[in-house]
Symmetry: C2
Subunit: 234 residues, 2 copies
Amino acid sequence: MKQRSTRARADDVRQRLRAALLQGRYAPRQRLIEAELAEEYAVSRFVIRNVLHQLEAESLVEVQPHRGARVRELSLAEALEITELRQSVEGLIAARAAERISPAQIDGLQRLGRAMADAVEGGELVRYSESNAALHASLREIAANATATALLERLNAQMVRHQFMLSLIPGRPRVSLPEHLDIIVAVCAHEPAAAESAMRRHIGSVLRAIAESDAAGSRAPGMPGPAKGMAAAP
Amino acid sequence: MKQRSTRARADDVRQRLRAALLQGRYAPRQRLIEAELAEEYAVSRFVIRNVLHQLEAESLVEVQPHRGARVRELSLAEALEITELRQSVEGLIAARAAERISPAQIDGLQRLGRAMADAVEGGELVRYSESNAALHASLREIAANATATALLERLNAQMVRHQFMLSLIPGRPRVSLPEHLDIIVAVCAHEPAAAESAMRRHIGSVLRAIAESDAAGSRAPGMPGPAKGMAAAP
DNA sequence: CTTGCTCATATTATCAACAATTTTTGCGCA
DNA sequence: TGCGCAAAAATTGTTGATAATATGAGCAAG
């Protein structure tokens, strides 16, 4: 097989830089200097420049004329706005999933539900968080609305810095597990309206958790540093 | 005052090219060749290149490695997906608007409602279409969710090619006017739930209109050519 | 007549150097 | 010491040239 050299480099750099941003390897508001990044990723400034402008379109960085790029900082207000939006759109996803789910997919979702319950039972919080991300991803796939899926993935990427490891908040899994199970039941029962309202209740509780955890201490418990490639909101 | 030469040019070109795309000055699937556009807009290829990549992020063009940019074509399926998404998000906007609307804003909205009714009464379809866009824009402003607003504006831009002048469909205004008035009443009465469901019903009917008009003849009545900077969905 | 291949051409992707702009530093002066 | 200003440094914006890739035409073989 042939290497796909050139564009691969730009795209590759874009993905690597995005991953680094999502992992929090650069601090919010930190300046992203083209020359430095060019050296770090072993490409020319030209490539870095283009990548930064593309990431601006994803709202991951801010670029100001002649002043360069910075890591975009998310205010609490914005985080809440985004989560409100997620509440609507995830609701849509849940409803469509309930309409379209197939028997095989029902099986998969129920298995996921049991895995989540087991994880909470056994106190395996990381696994719970992973299953949670998997659940939301499955629903997106079942709902089969590519536009909405792309949007949610973008919103989640922006949120990573704010909501990482929400499930490490003491008592949080006890709240969110039943919410998740409600969603699964409604979707598997082909009940769009119930699925939508279950999802809305769930993300409503996420909204409150974000507001509170951010009010409490600007860093949620359990993790002073950046999240390590951790997944979306529980 | 000094000219802000460099970036201003890039931003300017971006807006002009976007406007041209929204007006349909380039056909769907048409290749957008960097060198040609560079000459057309009297800037260097470099600027065009960046602009094209930014417009890709807005889903107005598609860029493939080594194959360049094309005008993105919207399938009916995608148009319906986008409108479904709009249904959710506009619903959110309506609900928040109902929560936050001020007395002065209530006045403005009611005035808009009367203007719409008058326009339909007098058969002034273009004015009706403009008022419709103004209504949705007002609601976005009242709801004050910048993230959702930006999203809706992006989605509307993508839809322009598909939904232009939906209000020219015979009988359409008679259907959509009462829907609009319902929304206004609910929002002005500070009833979020009612406002949301009124908005959902409205965009539900837009959904059906799009599906039907596209099924009937691939070009909606009244306009064989591109829309002229016309506004969002009625 | 169609299919597959090679080469010429068009186009994009990248690079390195240069120009323009902003930010910082250092200095003179009150 | 603190302030204003000018030069220097750092950084971004732009250009033209070059490399890499895709596309299409022409030709040979089935």
